[in-house]
Amino acid sequence: MIRFISRRSIGTTMQAASMASPMSSNSDIDSSSVRKIGKALETYLKHSKQNIAMMEKHRSEFETGKRHLAKMMSLDIHELDQKAIDRAIEYLFPSGLTDPNARPVMRPPDEILPRFQRFEFDEEGRPEGSRFFTLNPKIYGLLSEIGMKTQSVMKFYDEHVGSRNVNKNDLDVANLSGSQWITHEKMKKKLHEKFSNEMYAQILIAFENLAQLQGSSIEHKFLMEYREPLTASTGSKLFGPSIPTVQICAETNRRYAEVVTHCKDTRTTVRVFDAGKGKFNIDGIDLHDFRHLQSREILLAPFIVSSTLGRFDVNATSVSISAETPEAPNRIQKTSIGGQSSLPRAVRHGTSLCIAALNPECTEKLRLSGLLTLDPRKKERSKVNQPGARAKWIWKRR
């Protein structure tokens, strides 16, 4: 951010008085502190002040908007955090737009409005960064860094090839297998600077040149900073919660994994313990207490697929999602959770993820069987002039 000019009192407008002459006195400096700022800085400061005033106005508008929204949703203003605001806006302005960034949003102006400050400069107006006047300081800085490293690697190799007091691995080409150069967008975010596709191509050429040099393994760390794993872009990312990390229970010293998933309107927290007997405890209900055979089959499915029947113990607690939201029209807590299959399905999803965490060999099997994917379907809302979501009244031709 701009550090404002210190109101250091500077001398008068007259230039002629000499510095070293004994006649010079400092008594008038404080009285006539006329700070002559360059025109460039003046206009910048003017714009900066205007911007600050505008942001203040927007911020106060946001605050009043929040109060109105709380009144509309019959909530307490203190309950209205950003998540509640997002839900309220989604409810009030339902949008069919596919791009989440295109949907209506209500956020503090600092997050949404474009930032004014483009570059920093110090007290005397000197911009920061010695490559400032190249107009793309960070990109050219990166290119210069690559160039200098190229030179140093070549020098290193020429000096040490054939010599005994060097690690042989250092003289090899850098091993960058299993990774690829980060994309244009990611590099923009990393360097906080926009640049053209041609520039990106230049950077890649420079990187490739460095990477293929003999002895470039000494710069392996630098190269890997700009590389991402190959799988990152192919999207082997799971839809829904990812596989959790394994933890150790303090009292019993057993490994366990915990995950929070949901299915339809039921949100569950599932905890799977290793070194178990195959016990189930879902909201206090045992496996065999589930009335329908379908439910029991659903719950056992991940163990059958991964052939780990009887190895793990499952604990789960559940809540109803729609009952949790504060703006639910009727605040009466539902006692029963979900229906016949939604609770078992939620627990099944959680169990599969936990088994994949505790027993990584069967991850692929579980993924192929589709047990690791979240089912995003929700109950469709019923529309007016119809009995339900899709059902229509009996249609008569005449």
Binding site: S18, M19, K36, A40, T43, S130, M148
Partner: protein
């Protein structure tokens, strides 16, 4: 009567805001019209109106002693290009040609180099921004490093037309422009004059340029006729420039510390 202030023309800080605090006592008034008219031909006429009795001191930083001809010879500053490529306006700086290679007169070079170093030191003493420019691919990293070491600016890449004349559009806001531009090599990799020379002249920014025998010395304020291609010569010249800037900055610090102490 209202004065028209040229907002677009003068982009850098005026002398009043720069450097060390001025004192209030005014002993000399502004120069009058006739003096100014004479000054366009003979600048030293304005000397009494100009700030600081330090200006009257010749060679405050002692560059005359810092530059030695045998050191310049060892740094190969005297090598020019072949006579086929010589620029008509550079013949004044040549000692002659030896077997087709132009040789610079190092006495002349020393004179001009001392002037240029003195200029750089004084400008940096007054808090000026210095931009180092080169298009020579071999020395570009050295120039960047040198500029960073002395806290100044460098530009060793392709020059975007309008960097100095059109900052508002390119940068989004007007910026303080450099007070001096030092060209380590006045030609681009295509063999043409560097576009920054003309841009700097347009914006009234003084330029210091190392002109080789094939370069055009037009528009450059302070010339240094010397070799700009070999790494030895660039290293030597960068060392001298760094020394000049550092000396100016140290002098500035010293004077600033003196002021509050009084």
């Amino acid at each position: 009567m209202s004065r028209v202030i040229l907002r677009n023309f003068i982009r850098n800080f005026s002398s009043a805001s720069a450097t060390v605090p001025r004192t209030a006592t005014t002993t000399v008034t502004q120069p009058d019209s006739t003096t100014l008219q004479k000054a366009t031909v003979q600048p030293t006429v304005l000397k009494p109106y100009v700030s600081k009795s330090l200006q009257n001191e010749q060679d405050l930083f002692g560059f005359e002693k810092a530059v030695h001809i045998d050191e310049m010879f060892k740094a190969r500053l005297h090598f020019g290009h072949k006579i086929g490529t010589v620029h008509e306006n550079m013949k004044w700086a040549l000692y002659g040609e030896r077997l087709g290679v132009c040789i610079f007169d190092l006495e002349t070079t020393k004179k001009y180099l001392v002037r240029a170093l003195n200029f750089i030191a004084h400008v940096s003493m007054r808090g000026g921004m210095i931009l180092f420019v080169t298009s020579n691919r071999d020395s570009m990293f050295d120039v960047e490093k040198a500029a960073e070491e002395v806290n100044q600016y460098s530009h060793v890449r392709k020059w975007q037309s309008g960097t100095l004349t059109n900052t508002r559009q390119l940068l989004g806001a007007s910026v303080r422009l450099p007070d001096t531009i030092v060209f380590m090599s006045t030609l681009t990799s295509l063999g043409e004059s560097h576009p920054a020379i003309v841009e700097a002249t347009k914006m009234a920014i003084p330029t210091i340029g190392i002109v080789d025998s094939n370069s055009d010395p037009a528009y450059l304020t302070y010339l240094i006729p010397a070799n700009d291609d070999t790494p030895n010569s660039t290293e030597y010249l960068l060392r001298l420039f760094k020394m000049a800037v550092k000396k100016g900055q140290e002098e500035r610090k010293r004077q600033q510390q003196q002021e509050p102490g009084k």
